[in-house]
Symmetry: D2
Subunit: 135 residues, 4 copies
């Protein structure tokens, strides 16, 4: 089942065109990802403490379909697309709560690296829980 | 009674020193202010629609007392300090949830301006509800 | 000839991993695009004043190849990939100045919309100057 | 002689009110401070490498006087106000280039801390250069 969290457009997220600046979708996608790891009791810093890895992003993509404006609330829906040996790719949708319009859909690909920023295989324990809870 | 909302430090809020960048306290103070107006059914955009005013900030101040780090949650506590003819000054505290430490305390002073950015008196109706609910 | 501007990683751009947060590449790509329009004497707001259009982004993509750290300077190199009837797609590269490493490469697709956010054809005059100066 | 750097309001800096969001003044003040340290060949990370200290902010203040809008360029003028045993306080002004209007004036107080975030005296060498070049 996809993971979902609701966010709201803050004043600081908007720009002079009156809409949420496109970079903020990526901020909220990442915030949703943080919430996912928190929901499985493994916030990013615990992953680092436990497995010695961090998750730099290697690719980000988004299509922007409809504008989000100040005070709009929207759901971010997140689902694992692919777990490879060293990478995880997440799909995201941002859905406006008022009219159910798709505001944006995108993906973020993360790679597991060790303390020296060398790519390393994902820990089995993490893969297992992501495959259980993240799709 | 002071108004309170809980926030969490996101990855993007941190800097290379490992702590939340100081500008983000101001972002969360403003987010709390937005929540306050929403709680009285008057989000910023409705205030503009109803009274023809917006609230640019004329002054901001903050003392930073203790670092907030990734994944920390903190309460922002907000209380009106002064309602003058054309301005509202809010006091804010950010309190870390784990140990109850005061992370930051500051204030933001807002001025009511009309569509031409001329300072105008605060609407009585708004003053009344702020004095009832904001302190 | 591609358009180039140099930027520097600010403290606020970094995160707790010690590197520039990935969303900032998109901020600098857009800053470079703003500089391009300024270089042809058509900053975004003049385009709106002159042609009645703005350029919301409909798609953004980026591969992140090497980390940028605090105080690193990097060139953003920007080149038009495609000018369609209503859209412009720009390619971007971020190249670290020290070692010439490719830090990131991506693209942003913009659509011309009128004051009602309806997609409209790009003005010929703008297409001409973009084709001359943007590639 | 005060230290001066010129910045420009980017699209992402603006908000739905059409002006630069107030938090960005603090971002540009800090960017100016970074440029100052770079100008004396001591960027923040070299200060950490050489003296073992970093400079968390303990206080920030700003009065916002006039709006900066997209594409406006403004000078940030920075001058040391006080160098105490463990702290440095900087004054900042943001002056719009078009009409010379004062857009904002504020101050930021920084404290020297060691790797354990314990406040420590400022290195004499640094104090000397700041007193020479920063006022």
């Amino acid at each position: 089942m996809p993971f979902k969290r609701t966010f709201r457009v803050h004043w600081v997220d908007t720009d002079v065109a009156g809409v949420m600046h496109f970079t903020n979708y990526f901020r909220y996608f990442e915030a949703c990802e943080e919430e996912f790891y928190r929901s499985i009791s493994l916030p990013f810093n615990d992953i680092t403490a436990k497995f010695g890895i961090t998750f730099p992003r290697v690719e980000a993509h988004c299509n922007f379909k409809a504008a989000c404006r100040f005070n709009d609330s929207f759901d971010v829906i997140m689902q694992v697309r692919e777990v490879a040996e060293k990478t995880i790719t997440w799909d995201f949708k941002a859905i406006l709560q008022g009219d159910g319009k798709l505001a944006a859909e995108g993906s973020i690909k993360c790679i597991a690296v060790n303390a020296k920023w060398k790519a390393v295989p994902l820990p089995h324990e993490l893969v297992k829980v992501i495959q259980e809870k993240g799709q």
